[in-house]
């Protein structure tokens, strides 16, 4: 028994070499460790571990879970943003290996895309689901509260795994989708692609379970009188989003698993020998990937519907057509995925069908944009920060959408595919659509969940920097795309004349960076000034039920579950209260789920499992897997108990407003 084999048994393929990185990567790793140490140290110093465990980590309250998603997403936005700054800096120098080696550059753009999509955008929308769906349907909770917690902790486990490469090992260099054969063992024997696979696999299962959870919640837990066509449009958008999640995340699960099998068990799904077909990976990953981008954008659409109606002081124009547009987009998003690989040789008939379907999907989207504008028309519009984000969205998303129609023409696509034109297009959609929608939603609903407003002035400045930064960052990329610049370039010949545009783009990203800094500043200032800026329950003269809860809401949301007769239920309630005095309220006992340690436990075990697979630590793989199965079996075969808030206590809590 020599030391080597003992080491390999305990640690798999992990060696001390895995901790050695080039200076910049090492610096990033050290920063990450310092941030962790500071965070843990702070909590320990303030003696808040018990508080955090009891009130946040084990909580089954969707409001708490939503806030945790939001915090993780915000931190990950910073990481993804720093990656973007580094990409721009390197590209602005036009010189190879200016300060980023090619390998490091590849890891950075792979991390940037992966983190932004999976750990920022997805996290933000799950935050929105958790915070907004139960109140908007007049419910106290989701259908499966424990599953909700497990979903969050699986997501958190994925987040840890995707950030671990800064410290130990390396990240994938194969882009945010890791196409084979590059992602196969032959060309990528290290840990990079494995980190990528397992971070996404674990977080992806969390997403799928959340999809099932919120879909069931909307179908089964609407309050009395709230028929489907009386739900807020945001809830409809969640219905569409969760339908997509449930339909396509299994495809991602399979595709990642098959790639993992190729890399660990020597199978031949996507290898370039023994009959493997790398294009099948591309086909499957985009069958998931295209609906995924609609999963990201539909909640933003839903949020805008609420925001535009409220700040136009008018009900949403064309509710029915909005619902049908959502349903149409949901269905159509399944039929377009080949447009991500027009150039891969499918032939004219296949390309044409998918091209036409892609163009068609612009139509219901256009219906929605027009309906929002018609809502504003003849309304008494207040241009608060959320409305500014909406205006920015309309312009940028429309332009981005038009470039999408350009890309959907197969012959033209042969010019644009994988050029910077494409990169500009999808950033246009995700930033202009998803991110602006998320920022609008944060500003709009912040007072509800914190009890104070965000500083409007700083918010406006942040918006201005974001919008101008965005235009400066991505307009040059459209031009560069036409000039022949391809994506993922770490250097190019300066004689091409591209450098000027890259530098302009870099300035744009700096402006965005200032915008982000202003947003952080806004939060800090707003927290410090919160006593001076309190928000009432009805912070914006809203129309939907969440505004009838206190700001911040009680744990049980509503003391008495509302009964609804119309759309914009809260608006109707307000009108009704003006006409006659409120009836005396009869309180009842409220039963809520007790906190549970199962969520964090499953998350922790999953993180161990993922890391163990990456580093080939067989015993840890087996132990964590068996532990997960045992924990789930014991818990699922047990009847759980609840906590009861007595009617008297409810009365007291309500009176303490």
């Amino acid at each position: 028994m020599d030391w080597n084999s003992i080491w390999h048994f305990i640690f798999g393929r992990l060696t001390m070499q895995a901790f050695v990185h080039d200076p910049i990567m090492a610096g990033a790793g050290i920063m990450e460790i310092v941030a962790l140490v500071v965070a843990i140290g702070l909590v320990t110093y303030l003696k808040k571990w018990r508080y955090l465990w009891k009130n946040w980590f084990t909580s089954l309250d969707p409001k708490k879970i939503g806030i945790m998603y939001f915090i993780v997403a915000a931190v990950m936005l910073l990481r993804g943003g720093i990656d973007a700054l580094m990409i721009k800096a390197q590209q602005s120098t036009a010189t190879a290996d200016a300060f980023l080696s090619p390998d490091h550059f590849q890891q950075i753009f792979s991390a940037h895309g992966t983190i932004m999509i999976f750990f920022v955008a997805m996290a933000m929308i799950f935050a929105m689901f958790n915070l907004l769906v139960p109140p908007q349907i007049g419910s106290r909770d989701v259908a499966f509260p424990l599953l909700n917690s497990i979903s969050f902790w699986l997501f958190a486990a994925g987040m840890v795994i995707v950030n671990a490469p800064l410290i130990v090992g390396e990240f994938s260099n194969a882009g945010w989708l890791a196409y084979p054969p590059l992602s196969e063992l032959q060309y990528n024997p290290g840990t990079g692609v494995d980190y990528w696979i397992w971070a996404l696999q674990i977080a992806g299962i969390g997403s799928l379970l959340s999809g099932i959870n919120f879909f069931t919640t909307i179908l089964k837990m609407r309050t009395k009188g709230m028929k489907m066509m009386k739900m807020p449009i945001f809830v409809w958008s969640v219905l569409g989003t969760t339908s997509l999640i449930m339909a396509v995340f299994p495809i991602l699960t399979v595709t990642l698993a098959l790639l993992a099998l190729d890399r660990t068990l020597g199978t031949n799904f996507f290898t370039s020998y023994n009959g493997g077909n790398p294009m099948m990976y591309v086909n499957l990953i985009w069958a998931w990937g295209h609906p995924e981008v609609y999963i990201l954008v539909l909640p933003a659409f839903g949020a805008f519907s609420e925001i535009v109606a409220t700040f136009s002081r008018k009900k949403l124009f064309g509710y029915t057509s909005m619902v049908w547009a959502l349903i149409a987009i949901t269905f159509l998003s399944f039929t377009v995925w080949l447009h991500h690989f027009f150039t891969m040789g499918a032939g004219a008939d296949v390309n044409t069908v998918f091209g036409i379907m892609t163009m068609i999907i612009a139509i219901p989207t256009g219906v929605k944009v027009f309906n929002w504008i018609f809502t504003m028309y003849r309304g008494r519009v207040r241009f608060t920060t959320p409305m500014l984000w909406f205006m920015g969205f309309v312009v940028t998303f429309a332009i981005g959408g038009s470039t999408g129609v350009m890309l959907s023409v197969p012959p033209a696509n042969f010019q644009f595919h994988n050029s910077l034109f494409l990169v500009a297009h999808f950033h246009n959609m995700i930033i202009g659509g998803v991110l602006f929608g998320v920022f609008a939603a944060i500003t709009y609903w912040w007072p509800k969940f914190t009890g104070f407003y965000l500083n409007e002035k700083i918010g406006r400045y942040a918006f201005i920097f974001w919008l101008s930064g965005f235009v400066l960052a991505f307009a040059p990329l459209y031009i560069l795309g036409f000039m022949g610049a391809v994506r993922r370039l770490d250097h190019y010949d300066p004689s091409l004349g591209w450098q000027g545009l890259f530098i302009v783009s870099g300035v744009g990203v700096l402006l965005i960076g200032i915008g982000v800094a202003l947003q952080i500043f806004q939060v800090i200032v707003s927290v410090l000034q919160r006593k001076k800026n309190p928000a009432p329950a009805d912070a914006w003269d809203g129309r939907t039920l969440e505004w009838s809860m206190s700001s911040p809401p009680k744990e049980y949301n509503f003391a008495v579950l509302p009964e609804v007769t119309t759309r914009d239920a809260f608006w109707e309630q307000k009108l009704a209260m003006k006409r006659h005095a409120p009836e005396p309220v009869k309180y009842q006992d409220i039963r809520l789920p007790k906190p549970s340690f199962i969520g964090p436990l499953i998350g922790g075990l999953s993180m161990v499992f993922g890391m163990a697979v990456v580093w080939h630590v067989i015993w840890a793989i087996l132990v964590s897997l068996v532990a997960i199965i045992v924990v789930l079996m014991v818990r699922l075969l047990r009847d759980h108990d609840e906590q009861v808030i007595s009617a008297a206590k409810v009365e007291k809590m309500e009176a303490a407003l």
Partner: protein, 202 residues
């Protein structure tokens, strides 16, 4: 007095609503599982002729053996149906006996499948040999894994119900297990048809 009765009614109604949610939620999960299997089927369909230099389905599959597996699984889906129906009406011994039969048949199915796999590997047809075999093993073994999880569930639930018979929540769980098991047989119909039968026909 009447307040307590009303509260009991509310609690009963809430419990029924929770049970309905669980049934729908589990069904929806099964639908996602079916999409998962269909991705594996799609992969198999695309790669089924990529035999490289290895054997094809015609070379490997033994139809009588597969028919045996199929009938074993089909019988088990029948017995679990019986178990659910009998349990709901309180026939403890009959229900548990049927559950035991289901378990035994499920184990038999897995043993047969593992025997088939071992034989293939010994003949030089492993999941590493070709894309066809990789996709065969992925699809059929995923189904087998689902069967194994079902058996684990059956064991846990069965032991629980022996010790503590008649709880409404356990009956609900048994019904969900029954649905899960039925689905596994439905998936097997398509494996039987598209992998084995069409594979053998060439």
């Amino acid at each position: 007095m009447s307040e307590t009765v009303m509260e009991m009614d509310i609690i009963r109604q809430e419990r029924q609503e929770v049970a309905n949610r669980k049934t729908l939620g589990f069904w929806i999960y099964l639908m996602t599982d079916v999409v998962l299997f269909s991705s594996l089927f799609a992969t198999f369909a695309v790669l089924r002729n990529a035999v490289a230099s290895g054997p094809s389905g015609q070379d490997l599959f033994s139809m009588p053996f597969v028919l045996g597996e199929t009938l074993v699984l089909l019988t088990s889906t029948f017995t679990i149906g019986m178990a659910v129906v009998l349990a709901k009406r309180g026939f403890k011994i009959a229900a548990l006996f049927n559950l035991l039969l289901t378990f035994g048949l499920g184990v038999a199915f897995l043993v047969m499948e593992l025997t088939e796999f071992t034989e293939f590997v010994h003949e030089g047809a492993s999941w590493q040999t070709s894309a066809f075999l990789s996709s065969f093993f992925a699809l059929v073994a995923t189904h087998g894994l689902h069967v194994a999880f079902g058996l684990l569930w059956m064991l846990g639930l069965g032991i629980k119900m022996i010790r503590r018979w008649g709880k409404e929540t356990d009956l609900g769980r048994l019904a969900l297990l029954g649905t899960f098991w039925h689905f596994l047989d439905i998936i097997w119909i398509f494996i039987f048809t598209f992998v084995y039968m069409i594979g053998v026909l060439g």
